[in-house]
């Protein structure tokens, strides 16, 4: 059985040498989705020891390539030893992140969900989740902080939910007067909460309460413009 033994970190994650950070992150998540213990696609294919080694290799590759300093040093090593030609790295940095690009495939959703599950156990995330759950009202900022702690981009939320980046930004910024109608807003919040693996009912209720309080404080409920 072939393993990753003779592969460099780019080959392990199956990304080009000039891959952007978001591509590396996506590739890492995809790899985890395939090689983790619960994966159906590789069920029983590897011994526990083999799987452990494969996962370790994926972690090391990701840890190196996602860190700019480590990646630069690693690239220099690859070039110095003649494993990768310098030209392969050249476009690095010049490629722009395609904003809100549509990458919504089932595999994106699955791998993101596995990534979130994996990270949900870290102390920082747990703390943020507990803070949200312990409060009656919820600000968009708390959702934003949780999203950022997971390392999820708005474009990734868009790719799965098709909620536009602008709407998500307004939700996160508590721009209550510019939000979509409540029936949509509820659905948006639910989808968003599901991605972050946090009780969606609590999120919807908390956010609506926070919105109601804001309106009460401002004295009057302004009618929404028709368009």
């Amino acid at each position: 059985m072939k393993t990753f033994e003779n592969e460099n970190y780019y080959e392990i994650l199956q990304v080009p040498a000039n891959a952007r950070a978001d591509e590396i992150k996506q590739a890492y998540r995809d790899a985890l989705a395939i090689y983790e213990t619960e994966s159906v696609a590789t069920y029983s294919l590897f011994s526990e020891e083999q799987r452990e080694r494969l996962l370790q290799a994926i972690e090391t590759a990701f840890g190196t390539l996602i860190n700019e300093d480590k990646r630069t040093a690693y690239n220099q090593m690859l070039m110095a030893t003649g494993q990768v030609d310098a030209a392969n790295f050249s476009r690095q940095g010049q490629r722009q992140l395609a904003a809100y690009s549509d990458t919504g495939s089932p595999s994106t959703e699955k791998s993101l969900s596995q990534w979130v599950l994996k990270k949900a156990d870290t102390p920082k995330i747990r703390q943020l989740i507990e803070a949200i759950l312990s409060q009656d009202q919820l600000s968009g900022l708390a959702l934003k902080q949780l999203r950022e702690a997971y390392g999820i981009e708005l474009s990734e939320i868009y790719a799965i939910t098709k909620i536009s980046g602008d709407s998500l930004k307004r939700i996160e910024a508590d721009q209550f007067e510019d939000l979509p109608a409540e029936v949509y807003l509820k659905q948006f919040l639910k989808s968003y909460a599901d991605i972050l693996h946090i009780d969606s009912r609590h999120v919807v209720d908390g956010y609506l309460k926070s919105m109601a309080r804001d309106r009460a404080e401002k004295g009057a409920v302004r009618p929404r413009p028709l368009l």
């Binding site: 059985m1 072939k2 395939i34 159906v40 696609a41 590789t42 069920y43 294919l45 495939s105 089932p106």
Partner: protein, 306 residues
């Protein structure tokens, strides 16, 4: 020589016979002559999937030398161009086929005067099943998206590899240590990959010989009984994993949607795709049949990569 597609997969009840009958009928509808060969010895019932009663004669006449040629025992089916070679009339002890009979049968299969031969195999990884699977390099694995089925499919792939490697090691002059390892009666202790790794270390030249032979396999995968809740990228993932970790190329042919009416069609003694041609399941099967009938399919017919 016909195009031969053995259909196996390790686990029972995943729909190997259903897939064989459906694909055979659909390829025949493309105007090719197709022989369905039921080699689920001792448990053969491919005729039932075709909506036929058990043929009076079949493989038994070939094995007892009443029929000189294997094609003589092929009987027509309700589908034009589709013929069945049944083993349902064979002796109750047919599952334990003699070695010489097996070789004779395999050689006869390779000479069948049809465009396509689809071989329906039984569950498990006994030597007969593995050898029938190795009749061609283009074996098809059928499994369902459940872990138990995938586990058996991987085991089947590894068993096929091991069987082939053992054949090769016997045919070529190998290191005494390798010979000792494979001739060890406790063969379950030797995994094909371990053998390859062992040969790689001791004798790189022989290892490349093995890898070259193994590399000629072009195994294919079908995910059957696919329910809506299953991961739609599973087939592509398994294909990618197999291509990355085994020594031969794999192709995911597609998934076939689960349909309760498959059972209804069996009760009604009708070929499913005839009884229910306008279903998602039938469409899925049609796409796969087209991939097999046209070796260079249009890109639109291929599964989208994730």
């Amino acid at each position: 020589m016909p195009k031969i597609y053995p259909i196996g997969g390790g686990k029972g009840g995943v729909g190997k016979s259903f897939v064989a009958a459906s694909l055979g009928a659909m390829i025949a509808q493309h105007g090719k002559t197709v022989a369905l060969l039921d080699l689920d010895l001792g448990a053969s019932n491919l005729h039932t999937f075709l909506g036929m009663s058990a043929p009076k004669d079949g493989l038994n006449l070939f094995l007892n030398k009443t029929a000189q040629n294997l094609e003589r025992v092929a009987v027509p089916t309700p589908v034009t161009n589709l013929f069945l070679i049944s083993s349902s009339t064979c002796s109750m002890e047919i599952a334990n086929l003699f070695y010489a009979q097996k070789i004779k049968l395999i050689n006869a299969v390779k000479k069948l005067p049809f465009d396509y031969v689809l071989i329906d195999l039984g569950a498990g990884t006994n030597f007969n099943t593995l050898d029938f699977f190795l009749t061609s390099s283009k074996g098809i694995f059928v499994c369902t998206p459940e872990p138990t089925s995938i586990e058996n499919a991987f085991r089947f792939i590894k068993a096929v590899y091991l069987r082939k490697i053992k054949q090769l090691i016997r045919q070529h002059d190998f290191d005494a240590r390798v010979n000792a390892a494979i001739l060890d009666t406790d063969s379950s202790a030797v995994k094909s990959q371990d053998l390859l790794d062992m040969v790689s270390k001791d004798d790189p030249e022989k290892a490349s010989l093995l890898k070259a032979h193994i590399g000629r396999f072009q195994f294919k995968l079908i995910l059957n009984q696919f329910r809506r809740s299953a991961d739609t990228s599973l087939g592509n993932k398994i294909e990618a994993v197999c291509n990355r970790h085994f020594y031969s190329p794999f192709e995911f042919l597609g998934q076939v949607a689960f349909d309760e009416r498959v059972i209804d069609s069996i009760y009604a003694r009708k070929l499913y795709i005839t009884a229910y041609p306008a279903t998602i399941t039938a469409m899925d099967l049609k796409q796969i049949a087209e991939l097999l009938a046209n070796p260079q399919p249009a890109p639109s017919l291929r599964q989208q990569a994730p």
